[in-house]
């Protein structure tokens, strides 16, 4: 059989799952939006910073190109013999730009020296030098190459093809050496953060200048992979924004590393805090959800407990208190309450119906008494009349008439005790006359019995038994009727002085009287049942008998019942 989940589980688990999904989604999207925004804005800033650095150097290289342009124009109009004027010009340039280390000019076709500034020296065997070949390769551009000047960590060479416009002039190549370290000092610094650096390198990835030489190979491996553009890299335990770009007017490139630790820290801090907030939200939700679930399920549990009591046939199950939950649960418990009320009402109805039924049964029992007695009496009256004993017959008719009036009692079941005794007396009179004074009787009625009622016709059947079974042949029987009471009960006793019964017979009689099996015709059982119907378990019929002495039957009726008249 399938196992159904608890309501509590049903309430908490799916909603918690949804909530988790929602909070998780929110947290994730917040994180992505935040980090991409932060990244974008800071990358825009990094890019601007990088472009600033780039522009600074481009501006510088432009000014270097202007120097070369100056030399170009000067050389075009100078006689090759006028090297002295060139030397003066070069000296002036160096004076103006202290980062220039030396300027010299060589014959473009054979590499012979032509002119130089006054403080430097010519170099020889230049025909294979990069700067010389570069200038020859494309005579219209300024060629920037790595320098190897003594005592200067970073230097570069600007070489330029020079055209002479004068008669007999020879084309030449100018070589200008620059000290890069000095250039860096003249350029306004830009903060690149801890470990930040920039590297200027040529197209073969040879360093022209590096602001920081540590882990240079690793730095180059990133640069080599990127070539151009920007990315994020890790170097020496820091995160860097890396920007690689070409430098205008040169074939060189610059790589700029800007420390972005603060950015990654900011993003990871945000990630932590948003996870914490999300976690807190989920915990709070779980607490609320379980509280809510208890609020809903607790009254239902109570209801269920009450209902299981009903299943155990405890119809007293009653809620009303202790159940306060949602409106639905309240209505449910109210409905249950109403249902229980209804059940009780129905049960009461059933009891009443049963009583009615008993009452009608009772009437039937009472009605069983009469016929034989009536026929016998009427026969006796006829016999008396036949014998001419009119006076006796009259007496008998009167007694019979009283007997029946009380028997009928206008349909009442309950009659005053006095009437019942009177009824018994009339019966005894009739019988005494019929049986020819075979017995005598006496009726004793104790004081204080006025106002008591009894079920009618309870004495007569017992008396009938005494007459039928209690008379000894040839002896005058004595029948004594006594009515008395104590604090709780009314006792009506019928005593005879007949044969009596052996204890075994007595026990049998008692048992048959009390048995539930219905066999009719036995007066004692009829009386017993009627008492029980009317007065419940408290009423009883007590039979005492001693063989050869007599039998005494006592009807015990609770006083409480005896004080009630029918229908009151």
């Amino acid at each position: 059989m399938r196992k159904y989940p608890k309501l509590r589980t049903l309430l908490i688990v799916p909603t918690s799952f949804l909530f988790l999904l929602m909070v998780g989604g929110l947290a994730l999207s917040a994180f992505f939006i935040y980090s991409s925004n932060v990244r974008n804005s800071s990358y825009t800033q990094m890019e601007a910073t990088s472009e600033q650095v780039l522009r600074n150097y481009e501006t510088y290289f432009d000014s270097a190109v202007q120097v070369s342009d100056g030399i170009y124009s000067k050389y075009a109009t100078l006689s090759p013999l006028d090297s002295g004027e060139l030397t003066d010009y070069f000296d002036t340039l160096i004076e103006l730009k202290p980062e220039i280390l030396s300027i010299s000019v060589y014959n473009a076709s054979n590499g012979e020296p032509i002119a130089r500034d006054s403080n430097s020296y010519f170099i020889y065997d230049i025909m294979d030098s990069d700067w010389f070949l570069g200038a020859l390769e494309d005579p219209y551009i300024n060629v920037f190459t790595r320098g190897f000047s003594d005592g200067v960590p970073y230097s570069f060479i600007l070489s330029r093809y020079l055209v002479s416009d004068v008669e007999g002039g020879i084309d030449a190549v100018a070589k200008i050496d620059f000290d890069f370290s000095q250039i860096v000092e003249t350029i306004s610094p830009v903060s690149l953060g801890e470990g930040g650096r920039f590297i200027i390198y040529d197209r073969d990835y040879r360093t022209i200048y590096a602001s920081n030489e540590s882990s240079l190979d690793e730095a180059y491996s990133y640069i080599h992979r990127l070539v151009l553009g920007s990315t994020t890299v890790n170097l020496e335990g820091h995160s860097f924004y890396l920007y690689c770009m070409t430098i205008s007017n040169t074939t060189w490139r610059v790589a700029i590393f800007i420390n972005v630790d603060s950015l990654t820290t900011a993003i990871s801090t945000f990630a932590w805090s948003i996870s914490l907030v999300a976690l807190a939200a989920i915990i709070i939700y779980l607490v609320f959800a379980s509280l809510l679930a208890s609020r809903i399920t607790k009254p239902i549990l109570l209801l269920q407990r009450e209902m299981s009591r009903v299943e155990g046939l405890e119809y007293e199950a009653y809620l009303s208190t202790g159940i306060s939950g949602s409106r639905e649960v309240n209505e449910l418990s109210r409905s249950f309450e109403n249902m229980m009320k209804r059940i009780r009402q129905l049960m009461d109805d059933v009891v009443k119906e049963k009583e009615e039924q008993k009452r009608s049964e009772l009437k039937a029992l009472q009605n069983q008494i009469n016929p034989h007695f009536l026929y016998n009496t009427l026969d006796s009256i006829i016999a008396l009349i036949d014998r001419g004993e009119g006076e006796k017959a009259e007496k008998m008719v009167v007694a019979l008439s009283r007997f029946f009036r009380i028997s009928i009692s206008r349909g009442h079941n309950i009659i005053p005790l006095g009437d019942e005794i009177e009824h018994a007396r009339n019966y005894l009179l009739i019988q005494k006359m019929r049986f020819g004074d075979a017995f005598d009787f006496k009726i004793e009625k104790a004081e204080g019995l006025d106002g008591l009622y009894v079920v009618k016709l309870v004495l007569q059947p017992v008396i009938e038994n005494s007459i039928n079974h209690g008379m000894r042949e040839g002896e005058v029987g004595h029948i004594s009727i006594r009515a008395e009471k104590d604090e709780k009960y009314l006792y009506l006793s019928i005593e005879d002085n007949g044969y009596g019964m052996l204890p075994a017979k007595l026990a049998e009689l008692d048992a048959s009287m009390r048995s539930k099996e219905t066999y009719q015709g036995v007066g004692l059982k009829n009386v017993y049942e009627r008492l029980r119907v009317y007065y419940g378990n408290e009423s009883d019929v007590k039979i005492e008998s001693t063989p050869d002495v007599g039998t005494k039957v006592t009807l015990i009726i609770p006083l409480k019942g005896a004080r009630e008249n029918e229908g009151e």
């Binding site: 472009e51 780039l54 190109v65 342009d69 570069g134 390769e137 494309d138 005579p139 219209y140 551009i141 300024n142 416009d165 197209r203 073969d204 070539v227 151009l228 553009g229 770009m245 070409t246 205008s248 007017n249 040169t250 074939t251 490139r253």
Partner: protein, 345 residues
């Protein structure tokens, strides 16, 4: 019947997939150094007219910022464009862009600004890279040597030959030499330098003796040329070569301001003959009006046709075919010859 429930969604999904995939048109992105350059702007239009049908074509202008152009080219390369046409801002940047394009295998045709020969033939790298460049990198541009010579021819036609010049009205100071001024395009631009030297040497080859009185860089711009003219010894000049029409018009602008109040009808008569290059619409108009004596056609259409051939070759594997007559070939460099626009020749 259960399948029916899924039928419609499936149809929609497949339709969507089909529509999304479509027929993938190859993307070609063009980069132009400056939208204000009349010649390059019309060049870009010409290029679009030829390529737009077959390719997903777009143009981006750098406004003379190499860094901006480089970044745009990088994002195009990384964004999956299939081929680049680049008119560089700074022709020395070619090497780095080629290296970047090699990483993503995106072929490049350089237009108008010629990469260094060492960019097309790098010495210090692996054979794979060299081979890739050989197969995927090209240059298509004008033919500056031809243009310079054509400029000299226009001047020659105007002067009526060296003999006639030496005695005639155009030799203003009567020294027999042609006092020449040159408005050059841009420092380091191969076309500027080569047109300049070609027009001067062309004049010499035609038998003239020349005296270069002034050269200046007008940055290919009308306004810059106008500004540069203030330093020109106007009265000494007998002939002015301009590396392009925009600058020639800048010179005309300057002279028109200067000539206010002078009696002569035309600039040429009042001052000196001017020769331009490119034959832009405005340049032709100036020729028609007699402001300049002629211009050399920088054959944008011819260049674009050839570029489109190369693009089709690179992306669709079509045969490049034989180089037309008006195209000179030199390795992966192609130079397209134009013609002369002048009433004189």
């Amino acid at each position: 019947m259960k399948a029916n429930k899924w039928f419609l969604p499936w149809i929609l999904l497949s339709l969507c997939l089909f529509a999304c995939q479509g027929s993938p048109r190859l993307r070609v992105t063009m980069f132009v150094y400056d939208s204000n350059d009349t010649f390059m702007a019309s060049f870009a239009e010409e290029m679009e007219g030829i390529l737009d049908g077959d390719f997903d074509f777009s143009v981006s202008f750098a406004e003379r910022e190499q860094a901006a152009q480089t970044l745009a080219a990088i994002s195009a390369i990384e964004g999956g464009t299939d081929a680049l046409i680049i008119n560089l801002v700074d022709r020395l940047s070619a090497g780095a862009i080629i290296e970047k394009a090699y990483r993503e295998d995106v072929p490049i045709v350089f237009a108008n600004r010629k990469p260094l020969s060492s960019d097309f033939n790098p010495k210090a790298v692996d054979a794979d890279y060299s081979r890739w460049i050989d197969e995927n990198c090209f240059y298509v541009g004008s033919y500056p040597l031809y243009e310079g010579r054509a400029q000299a021819e226009i001047a020659n036609a105007f002067f009526g030959g060296p003999g006639k010049f030496a005695k005639g009205e155009f030799d203003r100071n009567g020294d027999g030499l042609v006092q020449v001024a040159v408005m050059k395009g841009e420092q380091g631009h191969q076309d500027a330098e080569e047109r300049t030297s070609a027009c001067l040497s062309g004049l010499e080859e035609l038998g003239y003796s020349i005296d270069v009185v002034k050269t200046a860089y007008g940055n290919w711009e009308r306004q810059s040329a106008f500004n540069e003219m203030t330093s020109f010894p106007i009265d000494d000049i007998e002939l002015l070569f301009s590396n392009n029409d925009d600058m020639a018009l800048g010179v005309v602008d300057y002279l028109k301001v200067d000539s206010a109040g002078k009696e002569e009808e035309s600039i040429t008569e009042a001052y000196f003959p001017i020769v331009g290059v490119d034959a832009t619409a405005q340049g032709r108009e100036a020729v028609d009006q007699g402001d300049i004596i002629g211009t050399v056609v920088n054959d944008a259409h011819g260049q674009c046709e050839w570029i489109s051939k190369i693009i089709s070759h690179l992306l669709k594997g079509e045969e490049l075919g034989k180089v037309p007559e008006f195209v000179s070939e030199e390795g992966n460099y192609y130079y397209v010859e134009g013609g002369i626009y002048s009433s004189l020749v």
